[in-house]
Amino acid sequence: MFMRKIFPVFILCAVLSACADPKIVNKICLVHALSFDTVANGKKSTALISQFKEKGKTELYVLHTESNSNLGAVSRLNTRTNDPLERGQLRMALFGKTSAEKGIGTEIHQFFRNPKISSRLQLGVVDRDASELLEIIKKTHDEPFFLSDMIEQNMRSGNLPLVNLHVSTFNYYGEGRDMFLPYFKIDHGEVRIDGLALFRSDKKIIEISMKDAFLLKMLIQNSKNGDYKVPVSGKESNKQGSEDFIVLRSMHSKANYIVNKVNPIPSISIRLNLVTELENAPKWVDLRSEEQLTQLEKTMGSYFKKEIEKFLSLLKENKVDPVGLGDLVRSRSKEWSAQDFEKIYQVIETSVSVQVKIANTGST
């Protein structure tokens, strides 16, 4: 009785589902990074693939293909390898400067749709052709995850705000906010992260420096571990032209947004709390004196206020909204529309107040 019931179930399971298509891990060719460029006669896709030859060492290869569209690039590249190319271990997608300026919506949509692609995939923009960057990685490092590790490391212990495919699709598809991606620069054959590329919809508009990236990080999340340099002038160094710097490291920060008014022109006040640790201070500052530290906190606060206001006006000027002010206003008003807000984005009132606290003065 039992067997009579259970046997057809097994048979049906086996017949109806058949076997899944196996992709044995050493019989496939893993794509670790992809890049998309716009060239004179269409689009160029480049893939960074790896082959594991000996223990702890990876050999990298770069494959190119050119066509009128980026779609199906991997299947075109398949004609050049002995094992099938698989995108499941893709950790980095790069866009060339021209390609990013023309729009990267199709590629993001393609990544977003594919369940094999990790939502922690890192996206990035390069200041020239992205394929060049992959060639440099292949030449100088034999580490397939070099670029994504570099970005992640900078998010954890640097000035980059948290960004990956997950965050970027939220920023891209979400109303009232815009996407931002890490921006790579190639200098004398070396790669570095130069800051952030800010997008409006899927088109790159401007790029900002790492210094401004810290301000953005502070505005949208906890800026733990970010570094910043604040110029100070003290009594003893009042000589003309000489300026001293304080290097601070953020231990914790929190931004509070208050929407004072929505109609007709929204007004938002931003209150920032920043707890810092002094990495470096000029010699004349007595770190044991309460008064001087309070004085320093005030100077730093007003400096941050100035910088953030400058940064916000830069964003308004370029009509990009990585902070998500539009989304903030949308959450407070019933009749919000993206088109209307875009028109008034440049004139919305923002006031910033920054409260800095020095929690730790020792150098670490």
Binding site: F2, A20, K23, V25, K116
Partner: protein
């Protein structure tokens, strides 16, 4: 566990429920003298020579008038004349014989003819070790085993019911339980199932286990069988029934739950934090042992995207020269391990050790060197074999080793989804299982929150003062929690 007894007759009647409680009547002149004793606790030869023979010889030339005379008659030092019922009960269960002059006499003589509680020279546990705690195990002799149990459970309510099973072997089988504590439903079920058995030969109690079990279409053992005395005593005082057959050092206890198989007696001898920790380690070991190799097959065959990036290189490198798909690779190693275990169990001890070296080092190293398996898999298979042996009950570790194979096959066909299909089937099967009509997966299904105290973790003795309610004992309180660890400092008095 206390029973209120009013007089000696009640005690004798209650004790009479057990089949090892004996009454001998001897005739001294005109007088019929009754001697009561537990045959499993006394030394029969000693009783014959120094009690019965002496009484009979003396009665030839003089007559016994009152019970006190016995003291002068019998050449045994430890004789007590008393009518204190508690004392009589205590001494009776320690192997004393009761000599009663007339029927319904309240005053009787307690004669010490106790055996050394059936302890033979070599009855250490052979397969279930513990570092802390007693090492007393059962032997092949039924009476010795019952004596071992009686020596620890000082209760007249410890009932031993003997029945004969086996048309050819006529094996003595004893059902052991505590009267007034164990739920009668279980006792009746066991008794009925044992009497219904129609088999020619009973070699071992594990045969009874299979005959009694509620479902024979399962790889899971439905009863705990153990050779440790402390384990059986603990299950008896919790309200379980034990079954033992003559000629078997294993006692079957039931109804059991899935968690009983992962409980070691040592958990109770260690502080509860450590006991709980080791129990959790054991449960983790089982899960690891069940799923590690099938996960390896699923991930390397289908879900390469789930490999963490730091593991990618070592994993691919170790599999680089292996010509088989992961499924055959795993099957090859798993079967090798099963060969080793099976051969090791059959071989004499000394050769067995050599085999371990041959198997472990030579085959393991050579298989990797010959690129038949990857060394990561070798580690996984060895670890999962090791983890399957952490289970204290051997029958359960067999089950776990067996269950690995369906999972490996499922993962080779459908990958991770296959494993989940397998887990689904396994869960459905487990929650349908019953042991003596009681659910097998209690306290998880049906959910019994109070029984969690002694399942995944072993709580402290202050909390474990009640018997597990899922066993439906007739009295639930074991002791009062406040008095367990009552401590008085000297200056507090």
């Amino acid at each position: 566990m206390k029973t209120e007894l009013k007089n000696l007759d009640q005690l004798l009647k209650l004790s009479g429920l057990s089949s090892d409680f004996k009454k001998t009547v001897i005739l001294l002149g005109e007088q019929e003298v009754s001697i009561f004793y537990y045959s499993t606790l006394i030394d029969a030869k000693w009783m014959q020579q120094h009690l019965i023979l002496v009484l009979q010889n003396r009665s030839l030339d003089s007559e016994i008038k009152k019970i006190e005379d016995i003291k002068a008659w019998i050449p045994i030092n430890d004789i007590e004349i008393t009518d204190d019922l508690t004392n009589i009960q205590f001494k009776l269960l320690k192997g004393y014989a009761i000599v009663q002059l007339h029927e319904n006499d309240q005053k009787c003589a307690l004669v010490n003819i106790a055996d050394n509680h059936g302890l033979r020279e070599n009855n250490d546990t052979e397969n279930e070790f513990s570092v802390v705690g007693p090492k007393v195990g059962f032997v092949e002799d039924l009476d010795t085993n019952i004596g071992l149990l009686r020596a620890q459970i000082n209760l007249p309510n410890l009932i031993i019911k003997e029945i004969i099973v086996g048309t050819t072997s006529k094996t003595k089988v004893a059902i052991i339980y505590i009267d007034g504590l164990t739920n009668e439903q279980y006792i009746q079920t066991v008794e009925q199932r044992l009497t219904d058995i129609d088999i020619d030969f009973v070699f071992d109690s594990s045969l009874l286990d299979q005959m009694m079990s509620d479902n024979s279409l399962t790889p899971f053992p439905l009863f705990v069988s153990t050779e440790r005395r402390d384990r059986v005593v603990y299950s008896l005082i919790n309200g379980q029934v034990a079954v033992i057959s003559d000629g078997s050092p294993y006692i079957v206890t039931g109804p059991s739950t899935l968690f009983d198989f992962f409980i070691s007696a040592e958990d109770y001898y260690l502080p509860w934090i450590l006991g709980s920790f080791f129990r959790l380690i054991r449960i983790f070991g089982v899960i690891f042992s069940l799923f590690s190799t099938s996960m390896y097959v699923a991930i390397t065959t289908f879900h390469y995207e789930a490999i963490p990036k730091d593991l990618l290189n070592p994993l691919i490198f170790s599999r680089m020269n292996v010509p088989f798909p992961p499924f055959f690779e795993v099957l090859f190693l798993e079967i090798t391990i099963e060969f080793l275990r099976e051969a090791g169990a059959r071989l004499p001890t000394k050769i067995g050790q050599t085999l371990g070296i041959v198997g472990g080092i030579v085959i393991g190293q050579a298989a990797v060197a010959a690129a038949l398996t990857s060394n990561i898999l070798l580690i996984l298979v060895a670890l999962s074999a090791l983890a399957s042996f952490t289970t204290p009950i051997y029958k359960m570790s067999n089950t776990i080793r067996f269950l690995r194979f369906p999972f490996i096959i499922l993962s080779a066909i459908w990958g991770g989804i296959g494993i989940f299909i397998g887990v689904g089937f396994l869960f459905i099967h487990m929650i349908r299982l019953k042991s003596l009509g009681a659910p097998y997966t209690v306290p998880i299904f049906p959910l019994r929150i109070m029984s969690f105290k002694d399942s995944f973790i072993r709580s402290s003795f202050q909390i474990l003062n009640k018997r597990p309610q899922h066993l439906r004992p007739k009295s639930s309180v074991k002791y009062l929690p406040k008095q367990v660890k009552q401590k008085n400092d000297l200056d507090e008095e």
